[in-house]
Symmetry: C3
């Protein structure tokens, strides 16, 4: 797949969204549904793109040297179109603030998912960045966080994410498509989305949800 | 009570809201205050109406046959004016998506309360449905959920809800009025609401909250 | 410091916000970062001001006499500019409703932080009060709460707050500046804020976050 093809496919997955993609993952027996609560900073945020993964170690204030909290290692190294995915084990510590989120947005990063915290929440909202996070917290990562590794397998809550896996998120939550299964999942999600549209049309025309689903399935 | 009378009474309870109704339940020694966090999908949502109760069993993917997840059993069978109340034991699994919520809205369902999850959150918001839920989650109920029974006693967090009990919700939360106590609770809630209005008037006129309350009580 | 000076300083701290003030507290080794989730009732709320502290005891319905739930003891006694900080140990019980929040707003109270609950959430939002709280809950404090003491040391989650300490909050969270350290913290926060502004300018001009930070530090 060319990079252009991948970008087109991700733009479409962003519209289909994690609810429908999640159904496709289920149908194929793939474990990729991230459990709550990792939420967008505003209700209208959504993303789809290949994961640029980050693993960090977290300790009390003073545990690490300031330079070990290396935000540029992810914000400046992720490629345009990537989704930066940070595994802080759910800690109530900030992995970035408003300036870093703004830099990521201007760089063309498609999304950021943090299994941990961020600060400067209103600046992040204003940046337009499609950022999803477990905690808003006024606790800096400085000397509390060590950027341990990038582009390694990580965990987002209950799901393992490998570099290059496709992450899809909206206000319902986040799902992960293993890269090797992308076309399978995409094809199935498109079919489910088409059926959902037919169901929706019949519902809007006044059918009950049961009858609308039967008609859509041609049953 | 005729159905028209009940609808009028519920329309009024929707305006009075669960905070004031909760005080009336307390005064009468009735246990009906649902504890957080069951939240509306948007801040402006509120409802009051008789409960159409649903009990579901939840398991891992593949536990049940797809047809056992019977959404029409509640969405298509609840009467206009009802509040569908679903007890999934707080599970992080979706009980319905956007098409079902839209069908319920078009059917005239007054509200939906889910002690569990929903998906397609933005579609549900757009549907205008007054839906309250514990989790937004991209995890379908298909093969994970069995619709066990409708119109049986259920639990919403800490509160038992019987079919026909009156559920009242807004952004503060949800309360349950046992059907046999409805007129008692309503009368007391109206009195409390009238007193609250007097307190509010005196507060807006510059009185302290203590003095405003004393004046309202005629003390 | 005169009261006018303190008000000016707090107005500035309100703009600087808890994320940057939190960094200054860290640098000075002061433990004042309140952990989540104590959240504003709307995303645009923020405050800074001296704490008027309140300690309450909480029990089941009927534990206390109604008059022991003494809301005027804090709402009517806090001075204009104060931040009322209520320690209910995180309980799912309301410490006030819409009329009390409106009275506090009209009185000129700068903020309210509740480690516990409130009711009448939409009325509180409409009042314009900068109120932060752990739970929205339709459970009145009447006979469940005893106002135990005002202007004593309290806890907000993990942080001890003394009367007169400066509380600063926005959508990211809440921090506490011990009164004796105020000028130190303020001076350091101003410097950090100035550096953040320089970093932001370079980010907006297209620099990566790493380069922007290096330039701002003159490195």
């Amino acid at each position: 797949m060319t990079e252009t093809d991948l970008a087109t496919l991700c733009a479409r997955l962003r519209e289909i969204g994690p609810s429908t993609v999640g159904g496709a993952l289920d149908a194929l027996g793939i474990d990729g549904l991230v459990l709550p609560p990792i939420r967008p900073v505003a209700a209208d945020r959504k993303f789809a793109g290949p994961a640029f993964t980050v693993n960090v170690a977290v300790g009390a204030l003073g545990t690490f040297a300031p330079e070990e909290f290396d935000i540029p290692a992810y914000v400046d190294n992720a490629a345009p179109g990537d989704v930066i995915a940070i595994d802080a084990g759910g800690a109530m510590v900030s992995m970035m603030g408003g300036a870093a989120a703004t830099a990521a947005k201007l760089r063309g990063v498609n999304g950021i998912v943090v299994h941990g915290g961020v600060r400067d929440l209103s600046e992040i909202v204003d940046s337009g960045m499609d950022l999803f996070v477990k905690h808003a917290v006024p606790v800096s990562g400085r000397t509390r966080v060590r950027t341990a590794a990038t582009q390694v397998p990580i965990r987002l809550e209950n799901v393992t994410v490998n570099p290059g896996d496709i992450l899809v998120g909206d206000s319902t939550g986040v799902v992960c498509i293993p890269r090797a299964r992308l076309m399978e999942v995409f094809t199935r999600a498109e079919k489910a989305e088409a059926m959902d549209q037919v169901i929706f049309e019949h519902v809007r025309a006044g059918k009950g949800i049961g009858e609308a689903a039967r008609i859509a399935k041609g049953g």
